[in-house]
């Protein structure tokens, strides 16, 4: 090993092309990491001094610019979106992996549909949401309209991760269950699904991340009211939309930094949970 490294160093010294490639690869990796570190540290340094208790007051006024209502709204929209997206996404994945026969046309069509959905920009979702949920179905600018829009947006993500998780459950489990006399439904719910839970969870966590970060799709569906939503039909802005609104007004630069810190903290937390889950899944796979 040591010999090969020494040899490599020697080649690098004598062969400019190898050296150049070596240099470029490291430079690129360094640039990527430095950019990320710079963004995070810059936001933290500028934002943490502005994290005052005022910012977490129960109600929003133009003086305290409280982000607390937006935080609660984010939580509400996340929960409601998941309530729609998870059952549908998991159900669809169950149909596609457990029920659909090989060569079933629907598998191909839903695949294309899911791929199309995941490529649509969030502003187009926002526009669709405002045309369909807000106007056509008459839900108005509301938490419900926003959540429904977001649930369509994260549906392909949930579907794909669940499908992959279900596919990775060995067929012998299913055969064993059938052999013991269980029906299809029972096999799916008590044998296959429990094994796939970690994979499904990681998909849900990714979905939560997308919901928390979303703004363009929410402005014209959930609106920008800065108060805690009192019902599912009231307009409510999430943390991202809140940050966008106060950054545009130009009066609240300090508060915007602080809101960015809170948003980053939420995202980092979500990522940590998802890494932990991924490690768990990886660990289980090597055991089994």
């Amino acid at each position: 090993m040591a010999e090969s490294i020494r040899q490599n160093v020697k080649i690098r010294r004598t062969d400019p092309q190898s050296f150049l490639l070596f240099f470029l690869v490291h430079l690129a990796a360094l640039l990527t990491m430095l950019a990320l570190l710079f963004i995070i540290i810059y936001i933290l340094v500028k934002g943490i001094p502005h994290l005052t208790p005022d910012l977490f007051s129960r109600t929003y006024t133009s003086e305290n610019v409280s982000l607390f209502p937006a935080l609660i709204n984010t939580l509400l929209i996340t929960v409601v979106s998941l309530l729609f997206a998870v059952p549908v996404g998991v159900g669809a994945a169950i149909y596609l992996t457990e029920y659909a026969r090989r060569g079933n046309k629907l598998v191909g069509i839903t695949g294309v549909a899911a791929e199309t959905l995941s490529g649509i920009p969030s502003i187009v979702y926002g526009l669709f949401g405002s045309l369909f949920f807000v106007k056509y179905l008459g839900f108005g600018l509301s938490l419900l309209s926003g959540s429904l829009t977001l649930s369509i947006m994260i549906l392909p993500l949930i579907m794909r991760t669940t499908e992959e998780a279900l596919k990775s459950v060995p067929d012998s489990y299913r055969e064993g269950s059938f052999g013991l006399g269980a029906g299809k439904l029972r096999t799916v719910f008590s044998i296959v699904l429990p094994c796939a839970v970690p994979g499904i969870l990681s998909g849900i966590i990714l979905g939560v991340g997308r919901i928390v970060g979303e703004s363009a799709a929410l402005i014209f569906t959930a609106g920008t009211v800065a108060e805690t939503a009192s019902s599912i039909f009231s307009s409510a802005r999430t943390l991202s939309v809140h940050m966008y609104s106060i950054s545009g007004e130009g009066l609240y630069i300090g508060q915007t930094y602080a809101t960015a810190v809170v948003l980053l903290a939420v995202v980092i937390l979500i990522n940590a949970v998802s890494n932990y889950a991924a490690k768990k899944i990886g660990g289980e796979r090597t055991d089994g």
Partner: protein, 282 residues
């Protein structure tokens, strides 16, 4: 009874499987039904190739925004593609084991940072920087390109890395056995073998760059005119919608939905070409 439950649940699962297809159809119907009549009323030619967007004077030319989107996306690719692919090569083939895990987590985190946070960072850091270095007002094609280049990095890195890792190790070993250095084996045997996956990553990056809204809006200046140079302001298709949707009425509103139709068609073309490409590779 049991049989009934089985088939009822099967029907239910089938229904949920159809939801994604129904969603795509609904999105198409609502966008096209609301946007296409306006495009016809304004005139397809004027709508796509008109160079003035002045809703007050009933001028709805989208060319500045189409060109704006293309410029900004091209700029983002110039920055994001080389850095992204090289970083992916580093992660797959050069990275010491101890660094790999934190680096992977960092790339995932980069993908998870909300676009408003990127946009705000661009506004307070990149805009003054570009203003000082290159002149102009700072809100420009260049600023938006740099920011978008950063934002598409994680997409390009993770897709490229996966495809580089999927190349059989024998390619690399063959290169070494023929006397090539580590770098040369990686770049001249492994990377070319992974090129279809890398290409897919770049196309996904294009999709992200064209579709990005909030971050671009905060740094691009948003003038509805064809940018004269890299330091002049620019308005993209996405930002055009967000900027004016809030107060628009009647034909103006429909014209904005028409802009979304253009954007949607762009994305569909990208998606379809990507899946055709994937199929042809397989």
């Amino acid at each position: 009874m049991k049989h009934f439950k089985e088939s009822a649940m099967k029907c239910l699962f089938l229904t949920t499987a159809c939801v994604s297809v129904a969603a795509v159809i609904l999105i198409c119907i609502f966008l096209f039904a609301n946007g296409v009549p306006a495009i016809q009323k304004i005139g397809v030619f004027h709508f796509l190739l008109g160079i003035t967007w002045k809703p007050a004077n009933n001028l709805y030319g989208n060319l500045p925004m189409i060109i704006g989107s293309l410029y900004v996306t091209a700029g983002a690719l110039l920055i994001g593609v080389p850095v992204g692919i090289l970083t992916a090569v580093f992660m797959a083939r050069f990275c010491p084991k101890q660094i790999y895990r934190p680096m992977k987590a960092a790339v995932n985190l980069m993908a998870g940072i909300p676009s408003v946070v990127y946009g705000f960072f661009g506004l307070v850091v990149l805009v003054p920087m570009v203003r000082d270095l290159f002149g102009g007002r700072g809100m420009s094609v260049l600023t938006a390109s740099i920011l978008l280049g950063l934002m598409i990095l994680p997409t390009i890195i993770s897709v490229s890395e996966t495809s580089i890792r999927a190349v059989p190790n024998s390619y690399y070993e063959g290169g070494l056995a023929l006397g090539a250095s580590h770098e040369k084996s990686v770049f001249f045997t492994v990377v070319p073998a992974a090129k279809s996956g890398i290409f897919a990553g770049v196309v996904l990056g294009i999709g992200r760059a064209i579709g990005e809204t909030m971050a671009v809006m905060m740094v691009a200046g948003n003038q509805a005119a064809i940018p004269a140079g890299v330091t002049s302001g620019v308005r993209t298709l996405t930002t055009n919608i967000v900027l004016e949707m809030g107060y628009s009425t009647d034909l103006h509103r429909e014209a904005l939905i028409g802009t979304a139709v253009i954007l949607f068609v762009f994305i569909l073309i990208i998606n379809i070409s990507l899946s055709l490409f994937k199929r042809s590779v397989q």
